[in-house]
Symmetry: C2
Subunit: 367 residues, 2 copies
């Protein structure tokens, strides 16, 4: 396999297994699977997920939704507060060409502007309220959720059909890698809140939670109707470190070339922080990852330092001999932000056969 | 100014000042200015640099050189070892349509492959040898430099015309912010090495060194013929922290919108680590930056946590009141990798007037 590098490479069999496995998990527990496309950003892979049984997709951005809708995917949840006049205008246009478009809300101000835009466009927009169950990001505080739900349920341009939550594996920097306990808590808090709102007479249908590490546990929680994992299509070293998958489940890596060597303890490869994302740092709790990824060919090589175009690998004692021109495959720490740096990926089989190129259609959508 | 966000915004006057200032510095010291386009990745801004007196441009990638050559820029230095058959094929094609193309080498293996590719294409390729003067990245070790220079000077497909060096402000994590001393050392080591090679009968013409923080000092060093700063066009919080520029010299920022607020100590903006690069961490030596950037409107807001699409700002006591829908301008820690995440920038004047959109033509070139 002689590919120009750096090159994002996807193993076709592992990808298929990951997609099928999560779909089966959702089916077994009778919950809908609405995968977040943030990991692959690819129309082709979104279609594979839908073909395997996903009910629709989740996106973070209006621009991502537009690209997926352009490709004919018409059941889309934008799990993010859509704020500002330019975005609202794009959103109402998008809603008119989707079979189902759901939008996240988490504030009265945001909901009011959305309601106004919907009414001005003659639409009734389906919305879900995001609730903060401990991640301290977006999401209305649990104690304020009922008030917001009441206000939104009275807005004639909006149709409040559910709530959604997200809680990453870490909370304020502290490790929380008991996936069973984390998933149960995430599920319990979300369902309790949904039930409290329902008891007020607001008929919520959808209770959506769960990311890749907790998806399996969440799917089994009574009252949960939908899971939204993203990373599972590829997995990465952070997912391995969380205990949610094995090395052999990692379907995506970056092929790089050794471009320089000091002949002793340092190799330089042609992938730096423009090729691998740096948001998942080596040595940072809770993952305690070694380097910015795992070098498949040689565990004694540690990608421990990066500048934009240079990846410096520490050559540990016992490493094999690597020469300028050799290619190495690196499984990144965080695949989602890594994929965002690439315009395409190459789909391979059995480590060697090149099947085809996959476009990262929604790569780098910022708005 | 109502722009859709996140939006990379460039102040036209500051950009022009920065470009003119560096060109004047180079002229004053009678050195060539060959700016690294890694910071802006834009044909339009490269042309502004050339119009102001730059002799040519520096790039890191063959793909970047191809894009600049497509736009008619024909004096290009690829300051990076070009390795692998696919890249060499692209390189020789590129050389045939550039007035001047210079390529970096730092190993015998790399030089041999380049020589072979050049001869096969019937070319004589101009090369510069990269020397490591303490950054421990690419670059031949100083003690091995003469041997490599001798070998390369005997290769009939290559024309060794110079050496180049780069030394960042940090060395193995230790701060080294005495720019005068750092620049003098960088210049002295590079010139000494060039003279040692010349004494061996190898006629080196170009001695190239200097990045934004050290460019002014390096330009004044006897024997230096060229400087290659990149970041100076925009500057960023890391440049401010280095002492090489002032806040008022920062020409590029990212406009974001407040999408969520807990009404107390947290705002969430629509720019996370897909919008701001994370390679320059807050609180990491030697820069001790506060947050992932500086919020222009309010110093009491600290962008202290990011996920892909969410930027969490700590609202410190004394902060102004900010509502969902408000827009904030953030000067990033590292502008080069931030620009790489955006497909375009908006050029503005006097903080309000929108002049035009600038394409980030070579955005996200990985190969």
């Amino acid at each position: 396999m002689q590919l120009d590098t750096p090159c994002l490479v996807i193993d076709a069999d592992r990808l298929e297994n990951n997609i099928r496995g999560m779909a089966e998990r959702a089916r077994r527990h009778n919950v809908a699977l609405r995968p977040h496309i943030k990991t692959h950003k690819s129309v082709e892979i979104a279609r594979m997920q839908l073909d395997a049984g996903a009910c629709g997709i989740t996106v973070a951005k209006v621009s991502e939704a537009e690209i997926m809708a352009d490709a004919g995917i018409d059941d889309i949840f934008i799990a993010y507060p859509v704020i500002g006049p330019v975005k609202l205008e794009r959103l109402t246009r998008l809603a008119q060409r989707c079979r189902r478009l759901i939008v996240g809300i988490d504030s009265l101000a945001g909901a009011r502007a959305l309601d106004e835009a919907a009414r001005a466009a003659g639409l009734k927009l389906e919305v879900r309220m995001e609730v903060d169950i401990g991640f301290a990001r977006t999401g209305i505080a649990r104690e304020d959720a009922l008030d917001l739900a009441r206000a939104v349920s009275r807005m004639s341009g909006l149709d409040l059909t559910g709530i959604f939550a997200f809680k990453a594996m870490t909370l304020a920097g502290k490790p929380s890698l008991d996936l069973q306990a984390a998933g149960e808590e995430e599920g319990r808090l979300t369902v309790e809140l949904a039930n409290r709102i329902r008891a007020d007479g607001i008929p919520l249908r959808d209770v959506s939670a769960g990311s890749t590490p907790t998806a399996a546990v969440i799917a089994a929680q009574p009252g949960i109707t939908e899971i939204r994992p993203g990373t599972y299509v590829f997995n990465d070293m952070a997912t391995v470190a969380s205990g949610a998958c094995q090395h052999a489940d990692c379907a995506a890596g970056v092929l790089v070339t050794v471009v320089s060597s000091n002949g002793r303890d340092r190799l330089v490869v042609d992938g730096g922080c423009k090729t691998f994302s740096t948001d998942s740092q080596p040595g940072t709790p809770p993952l305690c990852l070694t380097g910015f990824g795992r070098v498949l060919q040689d565990e004694q090589l540690v990608l421990n330092r990066m500048t934009e175009e240079h990846g410096m690998m520490l050559v540990k004692p016992g490493a094999k001999k690597h020469e300028v021109g050799d290619q190495l495959l690196v499984i990144p720490n965080h695949i989602c932000t890594t994929v965002n740096l690439h315009a395409q990926a190459v789909l391979i089989k059995d480590h060697r056969e090149i099947l085809r190129t996959i476009r990262i259609d929604a790569r780098g959508c910022v708005t």
